[in-house]
Symmetry: C2
Subunit: 240 residues, 2 copies
DNA sequence: AAGTGGTCTAGACCACGTC
DNA sequence: ACGTGGTCTAGACCACTTC
């Protein structure tokens, strides 16, 4: 350590520890030494060690747990999510044999705002449903999605939201159509605090944000959604 | 400020300052107060102010400059990049009327590794070219791309790399084909230090990583590339 | 020379988990 | 009671920009 300089101390320490994890010195689901131990080991202030750990956390190598220690993450091959015209979350997970759940966090009905009207091609004063849905596998939160649906197209949606299990299923079973993905806009960003808490990640871990517009097979836009997804555990594959 | 608690100080300060920027209290390309001023204003330690500024930086609101101050970023509508079977960087920028440049950072020739062989469907011992290309608009770095090309398909590539201006142009003008995007894998992550320096962003600003496989019109894979792109200034639109 | 952001040290108190 | 990570204070020195 500290063989040569120019670099920043905390980043050097982070890289050193990551190399150790790679080499198996610290193995998966085990703890790395405590912050105080690392301070002694590298002869630096605790603040520096904490910056190093923050960097490793953001890169997805470890997750610190208050009162317990700093655990090495499982090196999971990121879940692949295929984006094509007709795929939805539930189908993707099923095709990979992953058990998943979708939970309706909240919903409301209201008058469409300007952006919602533009996206869904609605008239002024049109009403929409707004849903917040969280998706998880094995109790690991994957994504939080805000979905906007034109009320006109979904009569009595309220009655189908009890015992919610999958939005897709409601489309198919209750309204008898299969939405078609029209376009998606993908972006990397940091989560809002609210989303970070829901996804159970620090607010400095990047997320993928996918803004989607789905069409009715007939052609009209029927669903506008913004999904915020853990960046480290997921890959989005686009096939042509 | 500090009307109610439970929140974390530095995050509260960050949100407060962001609100001020939104409201125009601090306008684009102007400076926010210095760290020391903010310390006095909020009656907190400089460390806390720095954490708040770090948060704002990561979210893309400001960029601190050593010795000068902390500037409010221009609220640019992110550049949209359309991913479809046949689009490439140069075409995207041209279609949006943006002046751009592509610079060849380095290149080398070598024996294909396992992953490269798998992606490009090459035999053991096959040789490849590896290029590092940086793309910018108006001196703002946009992306760094590592590209792997099978040597067999690109005879005398070296001679075409002098006065490099666009990989796409070389494909078209020298080898007379137009590659077709086969698949792309999109991910949000943090940049390596090397890439962060090239892209001129802090190492904690998220980037979009797009791993692409391009095919020869005849069907054979012809280009494998991994692009690392500034997350805040870009949107990737996928159309169907 | 003075002011700015970048990094590091030293030490405190708290919330949480384990014993 | 003790160890862990989470947050904050106080103060130092440096590199860089501006005057």
């Amino acid at each position: 350590m500290k063989t040569q300089d120019d670099g920043v101390l905390h980043l050097e320490i982070a890289e050193y520890l990551i190399k150790q994890i790679r080499q198996g010195v610290f193995s998966e689901n085990q703890k790395i030494p405590s912050e105080n131990d690392l301070c002694r080991q590298f002869q630096v202030n605790r603040h520096v060690v904490r910056q190093a750990i923050a960097r490793m956390t953001n890169l997805g190598w470890v997750t610190p747990v208050q009162g317990r220690g700093c655990y090495v993450n499982q090196l999971v091959e990121p879940i692949q999510y295929v984006l094509s015209s007709q795929t939805r979350f539930s189908e993707n997970m099923e095709s990979q044999g992953l058990p998943y759940t979708a939970k309706l966090l909240s919903w409301e009905e209201g008058i469409a705002g300007d952006e919602e009207r533009a996206n869904l091609e609605l008239a002024e004063g049109a009403r929409v449903y707004r849903l917040e849905i969280m998706r998880s596998t094995d109790d690991n939160p994957l994504s939080v999605t805000s979905t906007v649906l034109p009320k006109e197209e979904f009569p009595d949606l309220e009655t189908h939201l009890t015992n919610f299990s999958s939005l897709y299923r409601i489309f198919i079973e209750q309204y008898r159509f299969r939405p078609i993905r029209k376009k998606s806009i993908v972006q990397a960003c940091l989560p809002l605090l609210k989303d970070a808490k829901l996804l159970d990640i620090p607010e400095s871990v990047p997320i993928v944000q996918i803004e989607s517009l789905m069409n009715h097979p007939g052609g009209a836009p029927i669903e506008y959604s913004v999904a915020r997804i853990r960046g480290d555990r997921h890959k989005y594959m686009i096939e042509f």
